[in-house]
């Protein structure tokens, strides 16, 4: 019988930990997706510069079990001599409320029940199955994006494309066949060249016209919701499409084309005539975005509190817009005013077109469903029907 032995085996194919780790990461992502409605309207993200790390609490990944209330009993610790009652031995972050799991004395610095993501990673999860609905190939000015990809190896080609690694390998291989595995005595038959393919992607032109009500009746909540929606919409379009143009229109009784920065930061006041925005959008289309060659997507967010005398004009202009567009999206933010009758929503709903998509938002968590309604698979079903 041996008493001790020592060996070193080959563990290179051992990957169980990595596999279960991947499953854990997948669960983290699932958990985030389940919480997207809350995360999407998170103020700290909308107001960030987009580079920020977002911390997402993941309660579903807590390993629940019967345990004693961690906050109601003192813990045992150990000093280096001379400690006294009343000494402060450390601090905990203010965010760690009771029930949030982390006990004082856990591993320092890393809280495993909160995932850290960049806004970009979060965007990928949000945008996963979103797309511009009803996108058509248009006649003119199709933009081509061209890429060169090296995909193959040949024995002949320009020397600029010589694949040195493969050439050396071929040379050694040939030498080895004659019992001398080394590099040297290069011959033409050793040479290998990379060849390429042109990769042309055709993409149709598309323009999104983002219209926002900035009148006095739009309170903090209403403005915040519109901006949250547009924030993610703009990010989505920029991430997914190389050639989408986005135009911004702010309106109260008058409409004005503004820059992206102004759109997201400026506040105005006064009454509301939504027709002014539609008028400007139509004019924009007339002058720059011929529907023959452009896919057009107007969106409008408002509290619906439009001048009643303007509603009829709105409807007529909206009909014209819809005629020229692939989809017209209207979002109305009505916090607790469900019974209010003379809103813009009621006016627009009289238009009977599958290309008109409307949503009503009354809560922060409605922003994500709104995105999905305009861009998600559900929207495409409707568009096709």
């Amino acid at each position: 019988m041996f008493s001790i032995s020592l060996t070193r085996g080959d563990w290179s194919l051992h990957r169980k930990g990595a596999i279960d780790q991947a499953r854990h990461m997948q669960k983290v992502k699932e958990a985030i997706k389940q919480n997207l409605a809350d995360i999407v309207s998170e103020q700290s993200i909308i107001t960030s510069d987009g580079k920020k790390l977002v911390r997402v609490p993941i309660r579903t990944l807590e390993e629940y079990r019967f345990r004693f209330d961690p906050n109601s009993y003192p813990q045992v610790g150990q000093g280096e001599g001379g400690s006294k009652v009343g000494d402060v031995i450390g601090r905990v972050g203010p965010g760690q409320g009771p029930g949030q799991g982390k006990q004082a004395g856990d591993q320092p610095g890393i809280d495993y029940y909160e995932a850290e993501l960049t806004v970009e990673e979060l965007g990928q999860l949000i945008f996963e199955d979103l797309e511009l609905p009803n996108l058509e190939e248009k006649r003119l000015r199709e933009l081509e994006s061209e890429a060169v990809r090296f995909t193959d190896i040949r024995k002949h080609g320009p020397f600029a494309n010589l694949d040195k690694k493969r050439t050396i390998r071929e040379n050694i291989k040939r030498n080895a066949k004659r019992g001398n595995p080394r590099f040297g005595g290069l011959k033409n038959e050793d040479l290998r060249f990379k060849t390429w393919e042109r990769d042309v992607k055709r993409e149709s032109n598309a323009v999104v016209i983002a219209m926002m009500d900035v009148s006095g009746s739009m309170g903090t909540f209403e403005k915040y919701i519109s901006r949250a929606f547009y924030y993610w919409m703009v990010r989505f379009l920029r991430t997914r499409y190389d050639h989408v143009e986005i135009r911004f229109i702010a309106h109260h009784t008058e409409a004005k084309e503004v820059t992206e920065e102004e759109f997201f930061t400026r506040g105005e006041s006064g009454g509301t005539r939504a027709s002014s925005a539609y008028q400007l959008a139509l004019q924009m289309i007339e002058e720059r975005f011929d529907p023959e060659s452009w896919n057009i997507y107007p969106f409008h967010f408002s509290d619906g509190d439009n001048w009643p005398s303007d509603n009829e004009l709105c409807r007529r202009l909206a009909e014209q817009l819809i005629e020229r567009s692939n989809q017209f999206g209207y979002g109305e933010i009505r916090q607790g005013r469900y019974a209010y009758q003379s809103t813009l929503m009621h006016t627009l709903e009289r238009i009977n077109s599958p290309k008109l998509v409307t949503v009503t938002i009354s809560d922060k968590t409605d922003v994500y469903p709104a995105l999905r309604r305009f861009f998600g698979p559900e929207a495409r079903e409707v568009a096709r029907a």
Binding site: R8, H14, H24, D69, V76, G77, G79, G93
Partner: protein, 455 residues
């Protein structure tokens, strides 16, 4: 970090032989021990699964990620990993120096001796390495047959109550018979002989319903669910059984964490001092030893506490007594029997709690410290949950009672755990506990009606 060269490997082998010789001479009686040199990733994998070859589950992946992150950031390093088996298996890190691995081997010898001689390990299976591999294979087959998602949901539920086995029963023991005892012969029994038909009638099997009502409250929640759940399929019962078997194996390690680590630390220190080390190696050893036995302000370092208690025992009762302690004690009895006021003062132990955002020392009384220590060690950190009735209200509902010891449950977590138990029992689940003021509180859960509190 470079891995060990063949020359270093040979050097290490010679050193380990020396360690064994010294340890044996000083009285250690370990199992034969096999050392395996592995890369860091394998080390962290084995560390996060508890043993090589255990079944797949995302919680293991989560533990692995934690370990790996800490390692990648240089925050921690597993030096030693040793499996209670005969022969004993130990893993050494590929990137350690010869001296580091020599120290680890000496430490491992202490553990191996402890596994072989401590009373609480007497009934553990020494073939667990094979068992966990077979278990993992069965679970893999269930994944194939019933879908990974289904097995994962089941494991999520079973693992949430994995600590609720009977700490003091061995895995092989069957549940205590809750069927009525066999009928004792009575003086006038012969009178009934006339009735032949009675005699021929075989005794009726106890109805299944009564088996769900234990005569005594049952502590082994896993076994009770395995045997009496109204809804589990055979394969699901097998998964419950697997988790229970593996937990039973780990229980003695939970019960003796402080003593076991203290014992191993005591021996690595003694053995290393006997070896013929160069000056540089002495310095490296002293540095490592100090790092391992570093006290920590917020949590107990079991290595340090156990080591200090053992040194104190050696001072007071002599070396021979140490061997007796390693044979008969567990953490709780060790603390009860050997933690003194002088030691609490010398080790500067205290109780602290959170006040606002600060962690503040609130008590230094040695008896208060001792009582809290006992509450945190040896399995006492898990609340005792008893099965009172598996046929509650005649409706096969499961009635559990938290055995009250003055510490209140985390009710939020308890409710989430009850949802897991519902997955295993399939009927309404009840839990009786107490509130702060000591009055009775009963929780119930059923997915149709959600969580309810009854007072």
């Amino acid at each position: 970090m470079p891995e060990m060269t063949p020359a270093q490997l040979a050097q290490l082998e010679a050193r380990i032989a020396e360690v064994w010789e010294v340890g044996t001479r000083l009285g250690l009686r370990p199992f034969p021990t096999h050392f395996e040199i592995v890369p860091a990733t394998v080390m962290y994998e084995i560390g996060s699964y508890g043993m090589p070859g255990r079944f797949s589950h995302w919680t293991h992946g989560k533990a692995y990620q934690v370990q790996k992150t800490l390692y990648d950031y240089g925050l921690s390093k597993i030096y030693e990993l040793v499996i209670n088996a005969n022969p004993c298996h130990a893993f050494l890190l590929d990137t350690n120096t010869v001296l580091q691995n020599t120290l680890v081997a000496a430490h491992v010898m202490g553990h191996s001796d402890f596994f072989a001689n401590n009373a609480y390990f007497a009934r553990t299976s020494r073939r667990m390495l094979d068992t966990v591999s077979l278990n993992a294979e069965r679970i893999e087959r269930y994944e194939f047959e019933h879908g990974e998602a289904e097995v994962e949901r089941l494991l999520d539920a079973v693992l949430s109550i994995q600590e609720h086995v009977d700490l003091y029963a061995s895995e092989e023991e069957d549940e205590p018979a809750d069927t009525p005892p066999a009928r004792q012969p009575k003086p006038y029994d012969d009178l009934w002989r006339y009735d032949r038909s009675t005699e021929r009638r075989s005794p009726e099997p106890p109805p299944r319903r009564s088996r769900r009502r234990p005569a005594e409250p049952v502590r082994d929640l896993l076994a009770f669910i395995r045997d009496h759940s109204p809804i589990l399929d055979d394969w699901e019962r097998d998964v419950v059984s697997i988790v229970r078997t593996e937990m039973h194996y780990f229980i003695p390690q939970i019960q003796t964490k402080v003593l076991n680590e203290g014992w191993a630390s005591y021996w690595h220190a003694r053995i290393m001092r006997e070896l013929d080390l160069s000056t540089d190696e002495h310095v490296e050893f002293a540095r490592l030893h100090a790092a391992i036995l570093q006290p920590s302000p917020r949590r107990l370092n079991p290595y340090y506490l156990g080591y200090q208690i053992l040194l104190d025992i050696e001072r007071r009762y002599g070396e021979q007594h140490l061997f007796e302690v390693r044979e008969v004690e567990n953490d709780i009895s060790l603390i009860r029997n050997y933690l003194t006021q002088e030691l609490v003062d010398e080790l500067d132990l205290y109780l602290y709690e959170r006040q606002g955002d600060e962690l503040v020392i609130v008590d230094k009384d040695w008896e208060a410290v001792r009582e809290r220590l006992i509450g945190e060690l040896g399995g006492n950190q898990t609340p005792v949950i008893l099965v009172e009735d598996g046929d509650y209200e005649g409706n096969l509902e499961l009635y559990l009672r938290h055995s009250w010891d003055g510490r209140k449950l985390d009710l939020d977590w308890a409710e989430k755990t009850m949802e897991h138990i519902y997955r295993l029992w399939g009927r309404r689940v009840w839990l009786e506990t107490k509130t702060d003021d000591g009055s009775r509180l009963i929780l119930s859960y059923h997915p149709r009606e959600g969580h309810k509190q009854h007072r």
